[in-house]
């Protein structure tokens, strides 16, 4: 039976990468990811993790080293946040294109400006389309488990794509939670040694990342798109295997009290626990409101989402990022698009909240739900709005 210990979630993330016997860590410290990198460097320095720790000078280099080490056949881990993730941007596209199964933890934080070190999802939503598998953790245990799951999925020969495991900065990264820590030997039963399908080796020379002329570029893109879409089955299968080994079950979309609920609230990440409290309170008041949460964001779990939406009349989507000049938050626009053309098309309303570390309270969730119900009854409302914004 694995030991349950009280540990800071950041340290648990490092311990997870350590339990996975990571070969290379290349990372640059940035708030609120810092403790993850610090602890990994300690683990390497103390000889607890036999890995190459590369203290690079920027996140652009961090991701470049990760692509290189992964291409050389090493199990590779890194972590970043906010501006750091943005600085990695151009290399983020290259990692899936070269089929390098890197695992990266993103401690989600707002993007400048104004400068903000606090939590929201604007960093990750700006990297939505880079070709990485993306999962979101709700609590510390999920962070630990999703990292182990990530290596298993990423390194699957049918996938060979990088994965970002998202955890909310501070609200998750800096809290101490009781977590069941799996040891390296326990992880080994689930995660086999990495067997790269193609490596940089002078004895068998290959060229990775050559120019793609117009005659081949479209096909190269299609290869990644097909793999990413197809990876969903591997993601789900790996979660099922995880449940068999360790007893914790994960799904692409989690629902809470949606049975008999005509109104559903949709969230992502750690605020979902606050949202559950809000849902409980609303049921107590006689409001039939359920909660839906994306754990898997890329590839978008379309069938699972549509299935979960059966019978739902009103959907209130909460975004933690703003899409300037757009039609609503990134989650909202995508979710609404996913429902277009379905038989029972529900009314969907978007709410942007919790930007740059602003608290999202139980009352706020109730406000969103009540507004969505009101707009739905009236048959119209703003497609999306900011919650808790002060005018003057």
């Amino acid at each position: 039976m694995p030991k349950r210990v009280g540990i800071e979630v950041s340290l648990a993330a490092s311990e997870a990468a350590c339990a996975c016997d990571t070969d290379v860590v290349a990372a640059y410290p940035i708030t609120p990811q810092t403790h993850i990198v610090e602890h990994l460097s300690e683990l390497v320095a103390d000889g607890k993790l036999d890995a190459e720790f590369v203290p690079v000078e920027s996140e652009h280099s961090a991701m470049s080293v990760c692509v290189g080490s992964s291409a050389a056949g090493a199990r590779t881990f890194t972590a970043t946040s906010s501006q750091g993730l943005a600085l990695m941007h151009e290399i983020l596209f290259i990692a899936p294109a070269l089929r390098t199964p890197i695992v990266m933890v993103v401690a989600n934080r707002a993007l400048s400006g104004p400068i903000s070190i606090w939590n929201d999802h604007s960093d990750i939503m700006a990297e939505r389309d880079v070709g990485w598998i993306q999962t979101f953790a709700e609590n510390g245990q999920e962070v630990f488990d999703l990292i182990i799951h990530a290596f298993r999925v990423a390194e699957d020969p049918e996938v060979l794509l990088p994965i970002m495991v998202n955890l909310d900065g501070f609200t998750l990264s800096h809290v101490i939670e009781p977590i069941e820590m799996l040891s390296a030997s326990e992880v080994k039963r689930y995660l086999k040694p990495y067997k790269p399908q193609m490596v940089l080796d002078p004895k068998v020379p290959v060229t990775m990342g050559p120019v793609g002329m117009p005659e081949v570029y479209t096909e190269a893109k299609q290869q990644i798109e097909a793999l990413l879409q197809g990876s969903k089955n591997v993601v789900v299968k790996a979660w099922k295997e995880f449940a068999k080994h360790y007893g914790r079950t994960y799904k692409p979309i989690e629902t809470y009290r949606t049975k008999g609920a005509a109104v559903v609230l949709l969230t992502m990440g750690s605020v979902s626990e606050t949202a559950m409290t809000a849902v409980d309170r609303m049921w107590d008041k006689g409001m039939r409101v359920g909660l839906m949460r994306f754990r898997l964001w890329r590839p978008f779990p379309l069938q699972e989402f549509r299935r979960a939406m059966r019978g739902v009349k009103v959907l209130a989507v909460m975004d933690r990022a703003i899409s300037y000049g757009g039609l609503g938050g990134p989650v909202f626009t995508e979710v609404r698009s996913a429902l277009y053309g379905t038989f029972e098309q529900p009314q969907v309303f978007g709410f942007v909240a919790g930007l740059g570390g602003r608290d999202i309270t139980v009352d706020m969730f109730e406000e969103m739900v009540k507004k969505a119900i009101r707009y739905a009854k009236r048959g119209k409302g703003p497609t999306y709005e900011l919650i808790g914004v002060r005018e003057r």
């Binding site: 390098t100 060229t207 081949v216 479209t218 190269a220 290869q223």
Partner: protein, 97 residues
């Protein structure tokens, strides 16, 4: 159906679009978009090999006679050889003339 100019199907692409045949770039003829070509006047040439050394591609190769052979398959007409030639033996001639 519209004409597709793809050279390979996506299902047949190597992992990550990698090239697995070493030295395959030699097969890539890159001199077809040149607008000028260098022409060497062998009366002025002193066989110093500066054109061979400075060529950024693999256009020039030494001959037994000491002169240098020009290979149009790779020449992009950059003119570096003409610029570097100490005897002004190389002149750039517009293609098609």
């Amino acid at each position: 159906m519209a004409k597709v100019d793809a050279i390979i199907g996506w299902r047949n692409l190597e992992i990550g679009c990698a090239i697995t045949e070493p030295g395959s770039s030699r097969k890539l003829r890159t001199g077809d978009w040149r607008s000028q070509r260098p022409v060497t006047d062998r009366k002025k040439c002193i066989k110093c090999g500066m054109c061979w050394i400075f060529c950024p591609d693999i256009v020039y190769s030494p001959l037994r006679s000491g002169y240098y052979k020009w290979d149009g398959e790779y020449c992009k007409g950059c003119g570096i050889c003409a610029h570097e030639c100490p005897k002004d033996a190389i002149t750039m001639v517009t293609e098609g003339d």
